[in-house]
Symmetry: C2
Subunit: 107 residues, 2 copies
Amino acid sequence: MTAAMSSLTDIESVLKALASERRLQILDWLKDPVAHFPPQEHGDPEAHGACNQFIVEKLGVSQPAGSRHLKVLTDAGLVIPTRRKGWVYYRRNEAALADLAALVASI
Amino acid sequence: MTAAMSSLTDIESVLKALASERRLQILDWLKDPVAHFPPQEHGDPEAHGACNQFIVEKLGVSQPAGSRHLKVLTDAGLVIPTRRKGWVYYRRNEAALADLAALVASI
DNA sequence: TGGCGATATAACTATCATGTTATGTGGCTA
DNA sequence: TAGCCACATAACATGATAGTTATATCGCCA
């Protein structure tokens, strides 16, 4: 069950999270982690997504900048982090993205 | 035919226009101008929407601030201005909003 | 044409977003 | 337990947003 997103302010915060070329790029890459990131020795990319480090490198920004983008997406509920063995993997939250699409359709 | 919105940067700019509580509010009001704004002596609210002045007043911000919000929505193609007799009326661009909803659904 | 009412633009200020470098934290692993 | 590696947080610089007041523009109408 995803968080309810009903009021204008809620929509606003999720849209703000989405209104960034970098973060849109991340979500696009995460559609197919295997295709867009190097093979991971630990963590199943299909199940848990790509690790923080790979995403940051592919973005081409500093590690803190990349981590913050991932935090924004996480706080908005658009991606789901999985912490494992010192790495953090991120995958899309398809349910939240579907909710958002429905909300935007109602704007 | 509405402008094509395909690249990530295009989506980004439209999402930025949308990611504002004030602008979301304006779009919501414009769903039913007759219900949300005073009667207009000039300009058909059904056909052309609500005039700048009414929208600004209802927003509760200064006239330039309100006008700028409307400019952002206009530049993003989300509303359509109609200039007539010294007033400017704004109505929703339903085609663009539908395109946007489809794009968000594809994120 | 003179003035007025509606909107646009200019100039400025405050806050937020995004980037950087430096440093802290916390779990492996040798 | 010592050190390393991944990630998080702190502190700061800078550019974009959104608000304000003041002023310019522009079409009606008397």
